[in-house]
Assembly symmetry: C2
Homo-oligomer: 420 residues x 2
């Protein structure tokens, strides 16, 4: 697939025209965006929806401060994991009753990988993409410390393929939908099919796709999925994650993190655990209500926006950025790490650059926020609901200028932080 954005490469004016005709242009007003900021880090922390501010004010000033304990019923706090899950469900192609919001992506991975292994008790191997976001790999190690004899095969090492790794020892195949650094998009439907043919179950991590790419969990036959809400779903810093368990597995799946929120009758205070029917059995303990209340507005936006338009604009924004940077920065130490085919690319673009850390700091000083991932990746995220073609133009111009002027050499841009 090729995307023709040649008209946009001509001038900023052409980008302005494209913005004016953009069918998604009105969504920008739904977000609070700091004056003058070009925000290319929505793949790390989405900006605040204006309605989230209202809902958080309501949650703090009224529900907690005035209504106190009665808000568990009156304000629906107790139901929030399911209420919010139902808002996410259509965004990831899931029918009702299969998605719940709670805890973190890492914890939800533990629950789902453990449950999947439990559904294939005679098998002992987890196949995982080697370049997964590290927590996916770390959690698999953690699961292995709690179950005997689990082995792992890493996919992508020495160019091995899923077919080569699948056999009748494999219980679980774990994949990210989009690679967190390069933005490479994997053909999930095809991978699920191969996994199922080998008798294994598929766990999908949608952290870098939910809210910005079409995700069709039901249609693709995914067995378990997890995802993040603070990136393209704009749920707020560290807002709780979600998990999906296909209806067909819910009755048999065991959540090892069996706390009282996942009990069939939590307020009967019985001594023995009996898992709730349905998706609620994947809850564990009390959920952080304020962070949950900050999340609803972002999910409502994701549900209302047209996913096909979002995907189309995402491909055009990333394509425009790639071509602008390649045109303007070709002479510098900058090389594309993301797929050139827009069909194989998520909504982020990665360039390798030896001095990438300092270049990103210099861009931030110019009010253009992107991020850096060791060892040398400059990562730019493109969220179609609030970014404009002119933002992409301006960001590419600024990047070229930072490289040309060698501004990144300034001492203030050299200081490394632990967290970026």
């Amino acid at each position: 697939m090729t995307i023709n954005i040649s008209a946009l490469l001509e001038s900023r004016t052409a980008c302005e025209k494209e913005d004016a005709a953009d069918p998604l242009r009105n969504w920008r007003a739904a977000f609070h965006l700091p004056q003058g900021l070009i925000y290319l880090d929505g793949n790390s922390l989405g900006p605040m929806p204006k309605k989230a501010l209202e809902q958080l004010d309501q949650a703090v000033r009224h529900e907690w401060a005035e209504e106190l304990i009665t808000s568990w019923i009156k304000a629906g706090w107790w139901e929030l994991p399911e209420t919010l899950g139902e808002l996410i469900a259509p965004v990831v192609g899931a029918a009702s009753g299969q998605v719940i919001v709670s805890d973190s992506t890492s914890l939800n991975l533990f629950k789902t990988v453990h449950a999947a292994l439990g559904l294939r008790p005679e098998r002992t191997v987890i196949v995982s993409e080697a370049d997964s976001f590290p927590t996916d790999l770390y959690i698999q190690e953690g699961v292995s410390t709690t179950r005997k004899n689990i082995q792992r095969r890493l996919l992508g090492l020495d160019g091995n393929s899923l077919e080569e790794l699948l056999d009748d020892h494999v219980a679980v195949v774990s994949f990210s939908h989009v690679n967190y650094r390069t933005g490479e998009l994997f053909p999930i439907e095809e991978l699920v099919k191969k996994t199922h043919e080998a008798g294994a179950l598929f766990v999908l991590d949608t952290c870098h796709s939910a809210g910005v790419l079409p995700v069709e969990l039901d249609q693709w036959g995914v067995d378990f999925a997890v995802g993040c809400t603070y990136k393209y779903l704009n749920g707020g810093p560290g807002s709780p994650a979600f998990l999906y368990v296909a209806k067909r597995h819910q009755q048999a799946a065991v959540n090892p993190l069996s706390g009282w929120w996942g009990h069939a009758r939590p307020f009967a205070f019985e001594k023995d655990f009996q898992a709730a029917e349905g998706i609620r059995r994947f809850l564990t303990g009390s959920q952080p209500v304020l962070s949950l209340r900050g999340l609803q507005a972002g999910l409502e936006i994701a549900q209302a926006a047209d996913p096909q338009q979002v995907r189309k604009k995402s491909q055009r924004l990333t394509q425009l950025f790639i071509e602008l940077v390649e045109n303007r920065c070709g002479e510098f130490d900058v090389s594309l790490q993301s797929p050139t085919d827009p069909e194989k690319r998520g909504s982020q673009v990665a360039f390798l650059c030896l001095n990438g850390f300092s270049v990103i700091q210099a861009l931030i000083a110019r009010n253009i926020i992107a991020d850096f991932r060791a060892p040398g990746i400059m990562r730019f995220g493109f969220a179609p609901l609030y970014l404009r073609y002119t933002d992409v133009w301006d960001a590419a111009e600024a990047l070229a200028d930072v490289l040309k002027t060698e501004e990144w050499r300034e001492e203030r841009f050299q200081q490394k932080h632990e967290v970026t």
Copy 2:
């Protein structure tokens, strides 16, 4: 031990005088308390500290909305689990570097019970108090599904004692500091001593004591502890819990929920897990920042208040309530379930009452909030930092009146909710 509150039993005026002389009286102004409300449910959800509102406004309006991703460093988001843990440490008698805030009590129980079992690999038995808050028991069941051959012995059944249950198969003894229903306070130092003599490790749940009772984790020799922050620490609805791991175990203790936040170098994005040094290895994934930011104000209050004064007032408030209720409601179906000895009582009082659910609803309609725990417990919590002796007087009067008038028979007080 007896507490002489006979002067206070005489008249409301005597209670007013006691309030005026109360050394803790000024703390009440630190909380937002709805007009006219008597709040006896701080053992379930503490009221909002006024400073929490300021801090939440700052977190939402400035840190998220304006500063976005840069707040991970600038606003100290990344360090919050430790920063907040250090605020809790002195409140639970822990030296620095042993307490961290994250996830829920249930999840922290999973981590600590699992880690404790890992430190006694040749032993297979968990001893647990039979009347623990159910999630403690449910999580032990969950841990058992992930480890082979774990058995449990329940303490308190048929009047058995810890001595009878301890032998060289016991790896872990798990206890709540205060019984969630009756308010019975257990002699932890003594129980830890017996546990250690048998070669086992002690896991303490401080949910119903942290912030309102003297807790001395280091001095008592507790090995692992967990606790809740939304009760007497006033951290906000569902605010993240804390966990304590004694320094001597940190190097060897394994957290099975090994996510990237617990890695030694999380931003190196290495493929293999290597646990962070110290308490941070007990983190898993991203934490709900807004809920964490709502928690700081409550912890600062807990740290600043004098624990001996808090304990003394707590004992006087509960004693006053018990004696007032027994004097006024003796003719009704109401019987004390809490210890009569103030030294053996936490900061809550339980009365068994056949129609307890409806009685509590009638009190709530009179703007006195307490709660109900199946099958018939009316539970009244007494938080000394914002409750007055006159509140106790008024609540006891109202309870007597509800019983005398049989107001609780009104139909509107019969409707059972799933969540109470």
